[in-house]
């Protein structure tokens, strides 16, 4: 019902627009061409360049660059860093959104701003602060050496830096979503005798699943692609502390362009998959919003 109404409204708007409030065809098409030209210069051509450069020396060199041991260990480390940081930020995102969206308390807007902080900090500085804490001269430097532990120039540092740069993504997706949904459904669950965890599991999580998935996808893309922060804490030890983006940099600086672009093309492919999933989720959640609307009103 609601879709036909909105279609009708859309149709009416279209008819109205076609008279006094639209531009002549030549203006329309020039604007479209300028926009596409701009996007081509900055987006489409560079994207195409990644794949052409990767395959320039043939398919066999391409595959060889990907199955070489250093590349494989870089892929493995990237997957490890994402696999650790993702669940941690997921739990944080749900907890933060639950506290902020379902309760009123003082300092809430300050808390929201603080959650945003990592977006405002340069990735290089994100790496630097962990060096100041866990590095040789850092707060815990001596203690770590005494206990034979390594954070900086090792995997824990890479994971920490990754967590920092992806920190706000899931919370930022969930807070407005859960605020908009209100808390009536959860309260109904409570009245019917559900425990807190049952409410979370059976009511809240199903309601926020698309927003959650959206946040997870953005977090994952950033976690696998982070360069600046990870570069500061990694130490660039080949086969040990190199993630995929760092491996791309090393190959590139060694003038091994074909291999650098081969590994880069994997990351670019990941980015395209991310965008496809993102569009799918937007489409899905738009549909579930339309379906849910009569209930709200």
């Amino acid at each position: 019902m609601s879709t036909t109404v909105s279609q009708l409204a859309h149709y009416n708007a279209k008819v109205a627009r076609s008279r006094a409030t639209s531009e002549p065809a030549w203006v329309r098409w020039s604007l479209i061409i300028i926009a596409l030209l701009f996007l081509s210069l900055f987006l489409f051509i560079p994207l195409a360049a990644v794949f052409t450069e990767a395959l320039r020396k043939g398919f066999e060199t391409y595959i060889a660059a990907l199955v070489e041991p250093d590349a494989l260990s870089a892929i493995k480390l990237t997957l490890i860093a994402a696999a650790i940081s993702l669940p941690l930020n997921l739990v944080f995102g749900v907890a933060a959104a639950w506290a902020i969206a379902k309760f009123e308390f003082k300092g809430k807007s300050i808390l929201i701003t603080l959650i945003d902080l990592p977006f405002a900090v340069s990735p290089v500085i994100a790496g630097l602060i962990y060096v100041l804490i866990f590095g040789l001269q850092g707060w815990f430097g001596e203690w770590l050496i005494d206990h034979d532990l390594k954070v900086i120039f090792a995997i824990p540092g890479i994971v920490l830096a990754t967590i920092f740069v992806t920190f706000p993504f899931i919370a930022r997706e969930l807070i407005p979503l859960m605020q908009a949904q209100g808390k009536e459904e959860e309260e109904a669950g409570l009245v019917l005798g559900a425990s807190g965890w049952q409410i979370l599991w059976h009511i809240t999580l199903p309601n926020i699943k698309w927003g959650l998935l959206y946040g997870v996808i953005l977090t994952n893309a950033r976690a696998m692609g982070e360069f600046g922060a990870v570069s500061v804490v990694s130490g660039h030890i080949r086969g040990m502390t190199n993630t995929m983006p760092l491996h791309v940099e090393i190959l590139y600086n060694e003038y091994n362009y074909a291999a650098a672009f081969a590994v880069a093309s994997l990351l670019a492919f990941l980015a395209l998959v991310t965008l496809a999933l993102k569009s799918y989720i937007e489409w899905q959640s738009a549909h579930s919003v339309i379906a849910a609307k009569p209930v709200d009103e």
Partner: protein, 278 residues
């Protein structure tokens, strides 16, 4: 309002807020405070000297100048792109719309080497520009190109929803009062878009200021000419000059925090403007 004053019956407030504050402190607040503590090892004179040496000042000029330039390019063409994507139809529009977010998803290092390959003098676009005396890669112009790429989605994605929600009636009213299309755009549409446009501009600028990965490949990184401030921090770190690196980092942090507050203010203004117009 009365609803909020009622006692909240939902469980988990202490647990969720406690965990949020703990995790926030451990991952973000305490590590960030380390940067400020580290600079207390310096006297103010030493700090000031470190952050105002000519090489560092040149890097501020490049970082903020190029970021501003890139954000302006993005404001103009981002508005145009948002307009085209909401108002017009053309083949492949959905694909184009989805690809606008590419800079969010593409790792910065990949963007950096791709842009360098395209804009180097032997690249697809660089070889076209070079005969005209325009060199992009390994010059400050290259920095602008990389920062434009990085900030591209912000303006499009902040302006697009406002443009979609704009009611046709206001434009019809303007037209019936005798305004031509350009007048309607300047006097009716643009004022409504202004807060969103400014927010997108500020977001693109803030993102560009801290950017590292995509820039270092295309910039050439020549001291005094094409060296950005984040690279200065890295260089100082590699020389084990931790206090020097931190001093420059603190300057950037303070500027980033100011930008964050400005952006929050802008978003608040823009959401108020939108809800007031309803």
């Amino acid at each position: 309002m009365a609803k909020h004053k009622q006692k909240n019956v939902l469980p988990g407030f202490n647990l969720s807020l406690g965990y949020t504050l703990l995790y926030l402190s451990l991952i973000v607040l305490i590590p960030l405070s380390a940067a400020f503590f580290k600079t207390t090892e310096l006297t103010f004179a030493e700090f000031w000297h470190t952050v105002t040496t000519p090489r560092v000042v040149a890097s501020y000029k490049l970082t903020f100048g190029a970021s501003l330039f890139a954000a302006i390019i993005n404001a103009i063409f981002g508005l145009l792109t948002a307009w085209v994507l909401t108002r017009y139809t053309f083949p492949g529009k959905k694909l184009v719309d989805a690809l606008v977010d590419l800079p969010f998803a593409l790792p910065t290092a990949v963007a950096g080497i791709a842009l360098t390959a395209v804009y180097a003098t032997n690249g697809w676009l660089g070889s076209i520009l070079e005969p005209h005396g325009i060199k992009v890669a390994f010059t400050p112009l290259g920095v602008v190109v990389a920062l434009t790429f990085i900030g591209l989605p912000f303006v499009v994605r902040t302006v697009q929803p406002v443009l979609e929600d704009l009611e046709a009636e206001t434009e019809e009213a303007a037209a019936s009062l005798g305004a031509n299309r350009w007048q309607t755009f300047r006097r009716v549409i643009l004022p409504a878009l202004w807060p969103a446009l400014l927010t997108g501009f500020a977001l693109a600028f803030a993102r560009a200021v801290g950017e590292y990965g995509s820039v270092i490949f295309i910039a050439g990184n020549m001291p005094m000419v094409s060296e950005i401030t984040p690279l200065i921090i890295i260089t100082k770190l590699e020389q084990y000059d931790y206090t020097g690196a931190t001093a420059v980092a603190v300057v950037m942090l303070v500027i980033s925090f100011l930008l964050l507050f400005a952006i929050n203010g802008l978003q608040w203004w823009s959401s108020r403007r939108n809800s007031a117009s309803r």
